[in-house]
């Protein structure tokens, strides 16, 4: 199809689709009228059953932890896939970006930028760790914390230290750490099986006070492994994509 044919076909078919979808959407109970029962029951029982005051985390890491396991492995697979697709191929040769722009000076990162980004690294790690370890109490958890932890590494790059960034996170090691995070999540489930409980059951003591950091049993543990997995996966993905822009690899066009 030519682009204009495509556009006309879409305007007709897409119009039909839009009408069809709206026909379904008007059947919803109306915005602001959630009918339940799933969420209401979870809201009613989650705090006393899991001792987590963050009910979304209770759903993610306990009631529907099996979804989260699959999702962790989606991220693991995507990172592995990025590493596969962008791996160093045998016929490629590396030239640094400097050689490409022969007669131009690459501007050095200014000291001001370097100062500010390096100063942010410490606080970023603290915030990332805080988020990862407080899944059970407040809106946070391994995903959010993992992403923030990954940004700490990106700050190293922003400070103009790509070589340091790569040295801090070599691909094979990052991939291994990521695999340990994802695999430990799956292993927490196996541990429950070994104790005679169902897969991914909350087998650890729940703690006496809901809302305390040391409460909610396996929820903070799973959140911790998720945090490792997410941060390593994103460091790997960002590193691989950055490398493509910084090191020019001549392929066979």
């Amino acid at each position: 199809m030519t682009p204009s044919q495509r556009r006309w076909v879409f305007l007709v078919a897409g119009g039909g689709f839009l009408a069809f979808y709206l026909w379904g959407l008007v059947g919803l109970p109306g915005f602001g009228h959630y009918p339940g029962p799933y969420g209401d029951i979870i809201n009613a029982i989650a705090v006393s059953q899991t001792h987590a005051t963050a009910v979304v985390s209770a759903v993610n890491f306990e009631y529907r932890a099996f979804d989260t396991l699959g999702e962790e492995f989606i991220l693991f697979t995507a990172a592995t896939g990025v590493a596969t697709v962008l791996r160093h191929l045998r016929e490629e040769r590396d030239t640094s970006a400097m050689d490409e722009a022969m007669n131009r000076d690459v501007p050095a990162t200014s000291d001001a930028i370097r100062m500010v980004t390096l100063a942010f690294i410490g606080p970023t790690i603290v915030v990332g760790w805080y988020l990862t370890s407080h899944a059970q109490t407040s809106p946070s958890g391994g995903f959010q914390g993992g992403i923030v932890l990954a940004t700490a590494f990106v700050l190293v790059y922003l400070a103009g230290q790509f070589i340091v960034f790569k040295r801090l996170s070599p691909v094979a090691l990052t991939d291994a750490i990521e695999a340990i995070g994802a695999g430990s999540f799956a292993a927490v489930g196996i541990a429950a099986l070994a104790l005679g409980a169902a897969y991914l059951s909350n087998i650890l003591p729940l703690g006496s006070t809901p809302g305390a950091v040391n409460s909610a049993g396996t929820i903070p543990l799973i959140s911790f492994f998720v945090g490792i997995e997410v941060s390593a996966a994103f460091i790997l993905i960002i590193g691989e994509l950055l490398e493509q822009t910084l090191i020019v690899r001549e392929g066979n066009r």
Binding site: F10, G39, A54, E71, L75, V85, S138, F143
Partner: protein, 114 residues
């Protein structure tokens, strides 16, 4: 007005599809795919919303306070991670496509036909 957020859901989905279909640049096309997926976030969070209810976090409020649905929020979180993963992989494909074909126009990728 209670249907309005759901009209946005359908509109965002249709706009994203239009973008994918008319796109002449792979990175743009991938971003349009994210737009399509964004419509599912609005839908999920929309169907779980309850007027006047609080967020489902009971750290400093009594446990029986009416709250919105926590399940859709968990689903949306899963959905976001899926999106990040798929986008990362697609962008890696786009990087390689640019190396192999010398272009990012999906119309110009003509290795496979028939």
């Amino acid at each position: 007005m209670s249907i309005f957020p759901f009209i946005v859901v359908a509109w965002v989905l249709a706009v994203g599809l239009y973008g994918i279909i008319t796109s002449r640049h792979l990175v743009h096309q991938i971003v349009c795919l994210i737009v399509v997926q964004s419509s599912t976030y609005i839908l999920l969070l929309g169907v779980g919303y309850r007027t006047g209810a609080v967020a489902p976090y009971f750290y400093d409020i009594p446990p029986n306070t009416p709250a919105v649905d926590p399940v859709v929020q968990a689903l949306a979180l899963t959905d976001v991670v899926v999106e990040a993963a798929v986008t990362a992989l697609l962008l890696a494909f786009a990087v390689q496509a640019h190396k192999r074909f010398g272009t990012l126009d999906p119309e110009e990728l003509r290795q496979l036909q028939g």
